[in-house]
Symmetry: C2
Subunit: 367 residues, 2 copies
């Protein structure tokens, strides 16, 4: 049968009379991008043209499984996205739902370099979900952000991330901000004996992201935040190779209506090296269902090839009151991210953090 | 009123009773990402929180115009995408439709470095649309691709692009392929006195793209092909700064159902430095309407700040028979891209190219 293939699954809206032709067109679009009659070489038809493996009716759509030649992908994350959904993303009738990779291809990308275990080692958080909050609003200067970070750290938050809107703006230039925030967190850690780590948002082209990651590492930041659909999945993969700290993936610009969120935010971001992945949890301000969220969590954590599990990070309008429900839903291997609900507390920020931390410690995991 | 703002327009599905609250939530999501009660600093409310400028009923949706602070964007292409649609891309009820930038911000990005005029200077094509075809299928080796390129060049095609699926695969490694193809095109140019140029597809992370662009330039290739939604818009912007040749943008992974195609493929790719932009033309194998295509063309070509116009490239299943209609629709300032219809001709490839070239020369522009 030749080299192993990767299996891509699509949900396609079509009627029963046209689905065979639509599936065949999808197979051509995602491989040779030519009508079959224009493929004159028998070896290419055999080895490179994608094969329709299965078509199953599924609710009001059809599930189409294609077998794509791994030789078309090479070793680049962007090229994998390209072969999975490049041109077909322009068609309204198709959603990319899932992918299965041969183990050698998964090993090529390498997945999380630290994974769940790495987050626990870095923060000392064991036997419970991790806690996370965000530095915002954008517009605050380095000192105000550092003061906020100090309060969150004294309040016992495990991971403090930049708002993904914080880039290298004049209001809080990256180097100045990161140095000030990391100093505040280190001071809080010394005062409390805590092990809070900081994940600054690295942005820009790969040169800029790399320079920022290096600066953050040298300043003592224990993690970084990356938005792979903004910076490019190839940039995520490059950073994973040499960041030296765990990477937290942000779903910005994921436009996930066209690539199934469990695949994009769970599986693919994990594949390319995210150690934790933020997703908009059900019951918050985004419209993901409980089923979608559960599927994201499985994609991030379940055994997959030899890749480390990544830490799922439910977020997007969560409150302290939702902690017991989140722990019962997601168990211990999760990082709970609460931003606005803590930051709205103003002067009571530290005590609101402590309430968050206590809720996490006290909530029993319900299997 | 403070610093100039950029105006982002969204189409939002909501009922009349909830649209005011939805627009306000959108403004917060795309700026401070906090409830207003958690923004304690009056200066930040004033200078950084996005403002709802207008809400207009428009067909079955509402058009919402937000004024975003330019200070939130900085100078990075990815960060502009992030502030325009980052988190909101995760909401099903909203589409990003358009953006208007203060001239200083447009100048920061710089747009096409060569533009329509640069394509004409490079190829000598004047007074008519340019012609373009693609090297495929993926799976062919360097020699077979070079033979194909030679035939297309002898047939008189202006711009020969790699299939966007060609990356750095073992079947046709980038350096080997580009050298062989450029040699074949140069030989054809010497034989015919033609000025065909080659646009190899540069892929991977920015390091890889840059190394490939440099190799292509040194080998004599006259352009490059970039897929900005695969490689990242920041990578496009970085390449535009120093590629030294015109850049052709490919719509792969644009998933344009959630960002209006005229904005993404027309305006934003132009803003970040694409000299030409490929789009799936109406009447081909993608579902874009004539109105959408006309709007993409306007976004690419119309006067906009001080940015050069970019060349619109209708594509996606076009045939030689459609040339007169395309010329009448798009006029002279276009590049017509025909791939499969030429490549299906097999041994008659050169004569089919000549028919394409003749159709372009002979079709009169209908205003």
């Amino acid at each position: 049968m030749g080299a192993p293939r990767l299996i891509a699954t699509y949900a396609v809206r079509a009627d029963a009379g046209s689905i065979d032709a639509r599936a065949q067109a999808l197979a051509l679009e995602q491989s040779v991008e030519l009508p079959l009659k224009a493929v004159h070489d028998a070896r290419i038809r055999e080895e490179f043209v994608a094969r329709v493996d299965a078509i199953d009716a599924c609710d009001d759509r059809f599930e189409v499984r294609l077998a794509l030649a791994t030789a078309t992908v090479g070793r680049d994350a962007g090229q994998l996205m390209n072969m999975l959904f490049g041109n077909s993303s322009l068609h309204d009738d198709v959603e990319l739902v899932d992918v299965a990779l041969p183990p050698e291809l998964a090993a090529t990308f390498g997945g999380p370099r630290f994974g769940i275990e790495g987050w626990r080692a870095a923060t000392g958080a064991v036997g419970r979900p991790l806690t996370c909050s965000a530095l915002k609003p954008l517009g605050l200067g380095p000192d105000a952000l550092a003061a906020l970070a100090g309060a969150l750290a004294r309040g016992g938050i495990d991971v403090i991330k930049d708002d993904h809107g914080l880039a290298d703006q004049a209001s809080a230039p990256f180097d100045e901000r990161v140095a000030a925030i990391q100093r505040a967190i280190a001071a809080a850690n010394r005062a409390t004996g805590g092990r809070t780590i900081y994940a600054p948002s690295v942005t820009g082209d790969l040169d800029a992201m790399r320079a920022q990651a290096r600066f953050a590492h040298d300043a003592g930041a224990g993690a970084i935040l990356v938005a792979p659909m903004v910076g490019g999945v190839s940039s995520l993969a490059a950073l994973a190779r040499d960041a030296g700290v765990p990477i937290l993936a942000h779903p910005s610009l994921a436009g996930a209506a066209r690539i199934a969120p469990p695949l994009l935010l769970g599986k693919l971001f994990r594949l390319f090296g995210a150690d934790a992945t933020i997703f908009p949890n059900a019951g918050g301000r985004f419209g993901y269902s409980r089923e979608t969220c559960a599927a994201i969590v499985r994609a991030a954590r379940d055994p997959w090839s030899n890749l480390r599990p990544a830490l799922p990070v439910p977020a997007g309008g969560m409150s302290v009151e939702q902690v017991p429900a989140m722990r019962s839903t997601f168990g211990d291997d999760a990082m709970l991210l609460i931003g606005g609900d803590l930051l709205a507390a103003g002067n009571a920020l530290e005590s609101r953090c402590r309430a968050f931390v206590a809720a996490v410690r006290e909530s029993a995991e319900v299997a």
